[in-house]
């Protein structure tokens, strides 16, 4: 069986509606009404609880600021010591949410910078268990920050979905971002997350139809991760009229806060999002900065992004 060219002939299937976050599946029949029934039952349950839901927490923060900020780092890259210093700088400079990425050997949605960070973190021998312990320490140290796990589904699956989510909730994580799990395949993940008051973050992409956006938002919590453009993390996004129109379409599809990411790197990018989205997401830019200038450069960079 000789290895074949990876790109083969067009097979005539319509892939227009697929975005990077949804790359793992083609649109399957969607059990929309079943899910929304479950949704409303859970909403009643949650309203009886006193814990502030992530989306309410973000909304109240948003009332005080022009835009919120979510930053990201790969756990164990280059080391937990550096992670600790970077998080401290982020927290002290007013970051609202931090994505802690548990490294995976096949980070399909990530571009070269985050891909390399995943590989190097794994090469140091770090385990999922170490990530949980480190995250628990950070949540306790920086109560002003909402921490979320970002990882790929195999990590969750191997650990045991229920066990993973329960552990995440126990240490005080606010949500999980799993880009390769489409809602259609993640019913048990969505249900378990909601029961634990852990926000399962869903995605909008430029290829999502209005209908798809509504479906995806209906099963998500916390905020919607709006992928600003096609492709993988770390490439520059043109902040143009097309993006503003796309964000308006996102806004119309959901009441959840909109967090916009993929290629946001400067004060200018963040300023462009003010008024059009609720939260800017910075990923690759900070990793690059730490690589080049060390953890100490993160604080001033965050302050500059927020224009403070």
């Amino acid at each position: 069986m000789p290895i074949r060219a990876i790109f083969m002939l067009c097979c005539g299937c319509d892939v227009k509606n697929l975005g990077p976050a949804m790359l793992v599946t083609f649109l399957l029949s969607f059990t929309d009404c079943r899910l929304s029934q479950k949704n409303s039952k859970l909403k009643t349950l949650n309203s009886e609880l006193k814990i502030m839901k992530l989306h309410d927490e973000l909304r109240s923060r948003r009332d005080q600021k022009k835009i919120l900020l979510m930053t990201h780092l790969v756990l164990g890259y280059p080391s937990f010591e550096t992670n600790r210093e970077v998080i401290k700088q982020m927290a002290e400079n007013g970051v609202d949410c931090i994505e802690l990425q548990i490294p995976f050997s096949e980070p399909m949605a990530d571009g070269p910078v985050i891909l390399k960070a995943n590989q190097k973190a794994l090469a140091t021998g770090i385990k999922v268990e170490d990530c949980f312990e480190f995250a628990a320490e950070m949540v306790a140290a920086f109560p002003q920050v909402n921490f979320l796990f970002m990882t790929y589904y195999n990590i969750v699956f191997r650990y045991g979905e229920q066990k993973f989510l329960t552990r995440a909730a126990e240490i005080g994580m606010k949500g999980t971002i799993v880009p390769d799990l489409p809602p259609e395949e993640g019913e048990s993940y969505l249900t378990a997350s909601r029961a634990l008051d852990l926000a399962p973050i869903t995605f909008f992409t430029p290829t999502s139809t209005d209908e798809r956006m509504q479906e995806v938002a209906a099963v998500g919590e916390g905020f919607v991760y709006v992928v600003a453009r096609r492709g993988v993390t770390g490439e520059h996004t043109e902040m143009d009229k097309g993006l503003i129109e796309y964000l308006a379409r996102c806004r119309a599809a959901t009441e959840l806060p909109l967090a916009v990411g993929f290629g946001i790197a400067s004060r200018k990018d963040v300023a462009m999002l003010e008024g059009n989205a609720d939260m800017a997401v910075i990923g690759t830019a900070t990793i690059r900065l730490v690589d080049e200038q060390g953890a100490g450069a993160v604080g001033p960079f965050i302050a500059e992004l927020l224009g403070t």
Partner: protein, 271 residues
């Protein structure tokens, strides 16, 4: 890419741009990751089809259907030549496209035993192989858009794989094949690199044909089992590829002195 140099040459001559993958273990799984990354960036003008029966729905079924021509033809030919069904059908299994192709011709023939042969590499007791269904290094997982048996560690990180045959050097296996394995419809075996070279030699000397290193895995298992079968039983071995493409790898494995001399002389003439 070095292991597939002749194929790369022909692909380029046919007009393709072949881009080497520089990340990860630089095997098939890494090429799949990179192709996905390219596709999510360029989906406006690009369609992506996996070359094997893996990946997200509907790729496994689509590619299985494309490949089913092998089984349809084999079914017809064995009827014509043997007058009945074969007792066993052997195919090598990396992702599983040639195996799915030929097996589909016989899935409904319950008396036909289907045997998939995986890459035993340097032995199942080492960490240098790519056997998912045989051996104990694989576990159920969800990656590259599908759920199947993956060679992975306790944390779910994919393991490095090894096979003398680049086409079998892959962490996952078609979800359709792992399902058929679980249900007992397909029996899985593994062949080591050494056994493969031995079977290849035998095939060349006795049949005058040169199977690819991948296909030679199927020959290994057939040669092991044929002596204990009856004379009237027919078997089919899927020779899914020709060994011409493997000339560098095979010559190197045999440590062939006259070939080496030739390569050195040719290299000198280019300097």
């Amino acid at each position: 890419m070095a292991r597939q140099r002749p194929n790369v040459f022909w692909m380029e001559k046919l007009g393709a741009t072949v881009v080497p993958v520089t990340d990860g273990s630089r095997t098939l799984k890494d090429a799949i990751n990179e192709a996905f990354r390219d596709w999510v960036t360029s989906m406006d003008n690009t369609h992506y089809v996996l070359g094997t029966v893996c990946g997200p729905h509907p790729f496994p079924e689509m590619v299985a259907w494309f490949q089913s021509i092998i089984g349809t033809e084999a079914h017809k030919q064995i009827l014509a030549q043997h007058g009945g069904m074969p007792a066993r059908v052997y195919a090598c299994v990396g992702g599983g496209s040639n195996a799915m192709g030929i097996f589909q011709g016989f899935l409904d023939e319950s008396d036909v035993e289907l045997i998939g042969v995986e890459a035993g590499g340097k032995g199942l007791d080492t960490d240098q192989h790519a056997s998912r269904m045989v051996g104990d290094r694989a576990a159920a997982g969800v990656a590259q858009g599908y759920k199947t048996m993956f060679l992975q560690d306790d944390d779910g990180q994919m393991l490095d794989t090894h096979s003398i045959a680049a086409g079998l050097d892959y962490v996952g296996i078609s979800p359709i094949l792992s399902d058929l394995g679980e249900k007992g419809r397909v029996r899985f075996e593994a062949a080591t690199d050494d056994e493969v070279l031995e079977a290849l030699t035998l095939t060349m000397r006795t049949e005058g044909i040169i199977p690819a290193l991948e296909s030679s895995h199927a020959f290994v298992q057939a040669f092991k089992e044929a002596p204990s079968m009856s004379r009237d039983e027919a078997i089919i071995i899927n020779m899914s590829g020709r060994g011409d493409k493997d000339i560098f790898t095979i010559a190197h494995a045999f440590d062939d002195p006259s070939w080496k001399e030739f390569i050195i002389a040719r290299a000198d003439s280019y300097r």
